[in-house]
Subunit: 375 residues, 2 copies
């Protein structure tokens, strides 16, 4: 592995240290879909994501605060990062064909009941403080890649002003919290700029100059358009801070994507994909090998994904992955998982999710070990 | 509790001793819906049910046998009882408006693809031996309560002939198995006779005179029409064997039902209801109390069922049941479970099922303890 930029790090949070590189599965509704916190502990998960906008709509931040915070609410005592909901407001609006973004904030329709809501940077930060996440994200606009340069620029500049407003509200709340027992979270800023190199650089300079605890790469491109994502990361190399964590938002659809960005100095990433493809019958199987100081992912299956519905597995006694130590692989055959999948049994969702998440955690451990060896 | 008929027992099986009274949750598709074998072990489950007809249709008994039997297949090393499928053949036919029952067997349409299948007592017993259950059931006809006396009598007499055929095939297979490593199961016969006292008595005499290892009360009435079920059990008291387990099939929709039949000498019961109502938002909450040598079930909630969707639980910090020691009650609030239920999160199904099954197991322990004290 070319380790010239790959790095190891530690983030001190209110619920312990997060080692980096780290994969963070989304637990959007205050639950990582189909698995319990007991499963996540056994998987070796170190941190998960929740979403301020989703939790605002249901059950509401006041209820979560009243229950003692999101950790107590979902029985997860390790670190939690909350996304502010900039991406969701955009995504809901895409569906509802709405786009009411003003300098003040964004109006969006709830996917639950169609009701109208208005989010501002201040409101997002207040929700993130209320639910009690360990790392919170500034509120940004996630502009789609197919918008023209003028719009992307305008949107980016607004995101910068929103970053300042997010930070200001965070600082005010942190000051209040310092007078109480409540511990304040860390806050990360988000770089936008679409697919345009000069805008991305401008945004990176702006965001890194603000006193955020970490910086994130946001926008539709990141993780979605991997070739361009890798170029952007390389183009921003000299601007991005050496002493703060770098988070690529929504990236991690495949083990290979993670390997590529870790090699380029990205510390954190989240993606719903490993859990989602698991639920739809796609299970990771393969191994990581080091060749010529590079890391590759080898598998008998296309893209490293075993499709459990395939009839060739109907009497297959092997576990999903012979090298895996997860609960699912230690106890169940491909034949049984295929049976559960075809019978649409809820247990399939749990066993499949446990496996794919454990696979990502093992990849992270493998990367960390090899970065350490090469340091 | 009036313990004149309540009793304690032990059944030796190929996978250990089953103590009675015992509640057995159905794991129809070789999985107790929404929970894993790890959950079931923690719940303290001693035995579960599978269904020969369902497993024949998917994945097929040959696949299960090839995988090393149903225990290995589903990673459950404690006892398993298999139902023969008499009830399911009837139930599928009710839906499909088919009713092709002959002396030889029953034709039914698969609920998976509408394909036609023909089941005979011999075939059912062969499947039950192949999958490797510890206790197997004879093949019977489950006649509906609303059939006339002539049909119920005719059907009962055919069920008696099927019982003899089931037993004969079981004995042949057991003889073959004694020459191999394979251990043979126990076999139970099923009493029919609808709601008619004289037919039930005739059936009880016939079945108890055959060399079955246990006897079961079958038919639509049992568990479904509880007042009549209790009368039938009392009417058969002098006929039913003292030295063999008595199994009330499909009974156990509520804690009260179980208390009533245990008091009348029933040893085994199964019902999909505790797990099903859990999935639909109904969670047991209450306690068992002894008054005047009787046991009753006291609860703040109607029928002892807390309806988690109720808005009064939206910020309720209490567990489902303050006296419960299950994983769900030790870690999560009613508010969180309500949130998961409304968000239709799969984790809800698991946590709810864990609770209701643990509740039934605790009821069983409570009954056993009190029978022992009163012996």
């Amino acid at each position: 592995m070319d380790i010239s930029l790959a790095r190891l790090g530690e983030i001190q949070t209110n619920h312990g240290v997060v080692k980096t590189p780290i994969f963070m599965p989304p637990g959007t509704q205050a639950t990582v879909k189909a698995v319990g916190p007991d499963d996540l502990e056994k998987i070796g998960l170190e941190i998960l994501l929740v979403n301020a906008l989703h939790l605002h709509l249901r059950p509401g931040e006041d209820i979560i605060e009243g229950m003692g915070g999101v950790h107590r609410f979902m029985a997860w005592e390790r670190p939690i990062l909350s996304d502010s909901g900039g991406f969701q407001a955009w995504s809901f609006n895409q569906r509802a064909d709405l786009s009411r973004i003003t300098e003040e904030g964004v109006e969006f329709a709830s996917p639950l009941d169609g009701s109208k809501h208005f989010f501002t940077p201040e409101k997002a930060i207040e929700i993130e403080h209320k639910i009690g996440a360990d790392i919170i994200m500034a509120f940004d606009e996630c502009a789609p890649d197919n918008d023209d340069r003028d719009y992307i620029k305008k949107s980016m500049q607004r995101t910068h002003r929103w970053a300042e407003r997010s930070l200001k509200r965070h600082q005010e709340l942190s000051k209040q919290e310092s007078c109480s027992d409540k511990k304040s979270p860390l806050i990360f800023g988000i770089i936008q700029g679409g697919t345009f190199s000069d805008l991305r650089k401008e945004s990176a300079k702006f965001i890194t100059n603000l006193p955020f605890n970490g910086v994130a790469l946001g926008g539709e491109t990141i993780g979605y358009n991997m070739p361009r994502t890798l170029e952007i990361i390389e183009e921003l190399k000299s601007i991005l801070p050496k002493d703060k964590p770098l988070y690529a938002m929504g990236l991690g659809a495949s083990p290979s994507d993670i390997i590529e960005v870790v090699k380029r100095g990205v510390d954190m990433f989240d993606c719903v994909n490993p859990a989602r493809i698991a639920r739809h019958g796609g299970l990771y199987s393969g191994k990581f090998v080091i060749t010529d100081r590079d890391i590759s992912f080898e598998s008998d299956f296309k893209d490293g994904i075993l499709k459990i519905a395939n009839s060739c597995f109907k009497d297959d006694k092997l576990p999903i992955d012979e090298n895996c130590d997860c609960y699912s692989c230690r106890n169940f055959s491909r034949a049984y998982l295929r049976h559960l999948y075809l019978a649409q049994e809820p247990l399939y969702l749990r066993l499949a999710t446990i496996h794919n998440l454990r696979f990502m955690i093992k990849l992270i451990h493998f990367l960390r070990d090899n970065i350490e060896i090469n340091l």
